[in-house]
């Protein structure tokens, strides 16, 4: 299972995803509407990865724990409390750019 080109298929069929805090992993999972538990590794962690995980947790989109509290989190989790993740809006970017370049 080491390095697949894409985890999209596995994601699609999963009921719960447990992942590290990489932005790609988090966002891809949330966009597929799957419940997500983000596991932070304090020792390896690059602080900036933590920012997104913390914010997503604060906004109620993911659960979050570290390696030692994972089991406890799995036992006590309430996935229904997670909010659905609204998609980003790149069209706002396109409108903005069209406007500043005078293309509208």
């Amino acid at each position: 299972f080491r390095f697949k080109d894409s985890l999209a298929e596995d994601l699609q069929s999963a009921d719960l995803v447990i992942s590290h805090a990489g932005a790609g992993s988090c966002l891809e999972t949330l966009e597929k509407g799957k419940p997500l538990i983000v596991v932070i590794n304090d020792k390896l962690m690059d602080n900036h990865q933590l920012e997104l995980a913390k914010q997503l947790h604060k906004d109620g989109y993911v659960l979050y724990c570290n390696c030692s509290t994972l089991v406890e989190t799995l036992q006590s989790m309430d996935l229904s409390a997670l909010k659905p993740f609204p998609p980003g809006q790149p069209e706002k970017f396109a409108s903005f750019l069209d406007k500043v370049l005078g293309l509208q």
């Binding site: 900036h48 997104l52 980003g88 396109a94 750019l97 069209d98």
Partner: protein
């Protein structure tokens, strides 16, 4: 590189065909982005028939957590490549989202602007991963870009000259 490429292609996906031809600049060590770009451009031809784009590589300007001083040296080295490339392409617009590679390219364009050779609009979109702090590229290009876009409100507060449009990827 990986995450940056995915984000920027999502942004490009919404742009009209006025944004053509597209010139992609990659780090020489980047192995994954080229395939993603080809795939994106290929998909685009389904909607827009022709797709005009070029792909160039320059030396990678900085490794993760490389020291400040050596980063200045490696970035200057990358500029030996990015400057003639930017001069050749003379882009009207540069769109970037934070990998180290964007720094020499934007600085080259900025320089060509100062020298009155070509005025390029530089638009920087900070990655969605950046909620509270800017990346190093962001900290530098905040001062050199024409439009600096952030995706979280805390950054808008800290960097008042930035543009906040909400989450755009």
């Amino acid at each position: 590189t990986g995450g940056h490429t995915t984000e920027i292609l999502r942004l490009l996906n919404c742009l009209s065909e006025s944004y053509s031809p597209r010139h992609y600049v990659l780090a020489d060590s980047d192995k994954m982005s080229e395939a993603k770009i080809h795939s994106f451009e290929q998909k685009r031809t389904e909607t827009y028939s022709k797709s005009q784009f070029t792909l160039d590589r320059i030396p990678r300007s900085r490794e993760v957590r490389q020291s400040w001083i050596s980063s200045v040296v490696t970035t200057l080295y990358s500029m030996l490549y990015s400057l003639p490339l930017t001069y050749k392409r003379k882009p009207d617009l540069i769109l970037c989202n934070g990998p180290g590679t964007c720094v020499p390219v934007c600085l080259s364009a900025f320089l060509l602007g100062l020298l009155r050779i070509k005025r390029t609009i530089i638009v920087y979109v900070e990655s969605i991963c950046r909620v509270e702090t800017l990346s190093l590229s962001g900290k530098i290009l905040y001062y050199f870009s024409d439009y600096f876009i952030v995706q979280w409100p805390d950054l808008k507060k800290k960097y008042p000259k930035s543009v906040y449009l909400g989450r755009i990827v």
